[in-house]
């Protein structure tokens, strides 16, 4: 009983962090702050994965996003040094339309989510996925195993590395 209350509190905390900081990341004027708020959102997302007992996924999220992507963002923001976003009017027509579309979308999607009838699951499970199973699934070639996407992903990462170097190098 104590545990249930504590877990509920943790979930609501993570949900509040995600909601507040994702809104702040798109509304703040300073771009470096936007990147920091994005980092908080990604941390809370990793927290949600841990909460769902997908520890491997949470660890990947922390490493790839907090370790890689955010550093890329910070460096590119500092390299292009655009800490002064142009002063646009606070309430332009486009801003109102975007706000209307977003709030309408949230209302529509939440209505559909909360009124939909989901299929019944007979054996709900919150068990941790064993690491051995993850490794076998990632490296197997049978039905429901993912060796081919894994290799395609490695080719994609190589291509994007080469592309990044080619695009961003100094032409002398």
């Amino acid at each position: 009983m104590q545990d249930a209350i504590l877990l509920k509190f943790v979930f609501y905390f993570l949900a509040a962090v995600i909601a507040v900081f994702s809104v702040m990341a798109v509304t703040t004027r300073r771009i470096l702050r936007a990147a920091t708020y994005l980092l908080f959102v990604l941390f809370a997302t990793a927290g949600l994965y841990f909460f769902l007992n997908y520890s491997f996924l949470g660890a990947v999220q922390l490493m790839v996003y907090a370790g890689g992507v955010i550093i890329l963002y910070i460096f590119s923001i500092l390299l292009t040094s655009t800490d002064k976003e142009s002063k646009s009017p606070m309430f332009s027509l486009r801003r109102w339309l975007a706000l209307l579309a977003s709030i309408g979308g949230i209302c529509l999607v939440s209505f559909l989510l909360l009124t939909n009838v989901w299929p019944t699951v007979y054996e709900p499970s919150t068990a941790e996925v064993p690491m051995k199973l993850i490794g076998k699934t990632l490296m197997g070639t049978e039905k429901g195993q993912f060796l081919l996407p894994f290799e395609v992903m490695s080719v994609l990462l190589l291509a994007c590395m080469v592309g990044g170097i080619l695009i961003a190098r100094k032409r002398g």
Partner: protein
């Protein structure tokens, strides 16, 4: 074992994140800020994959691996997009969307 939090709560959280990303994508003026909004959208879909896998098909692993690959693809996308943005900055000394009349000068 039963779940403590119903599935819809997770999905509402991820839809808030998704539409915050949409709002930023429409209203932002800076290229990197647009990219940050795209990142929010991608991450919210990742949450959905993981949640559907955990709640509706707990005996399978497809959603979890889709999330894994989606994280990889979005990291690759970010790297290339940032290379392009740095190149644009080198050419026109600005990363504002309204200054981007043409990609080649």
């Amino acid at each position: 074992m039963e779940h403590i939090i119903p599935m819809e709560y997770y999905l509402v959280v991820s839809s808030i994140m998704f539409f915050a990303g949409i709002y930023g994508f429409i209203t932002r003026k800076n290229l990197i800020a647009v990219l940050i909004s795209v990142e929010l959208v991608l991450t919210s879909t990742d949450i959905n994959f993981a949640v559907f896998n955990r709640f509706l098909f707990p005996q399978h692993l497809e959603g979890m691996f889709f999330t894994l690959f989606s994280i990889g693809v979005s990291a690759a996308e970010t790297a290339v997009a940032i290379a392009i943005i740095i190149n644009i900055y080198r050419n026109i000394k600005s990363t504002e969307v309204r200054n981007l009349k043409n990609l080649k000068d």
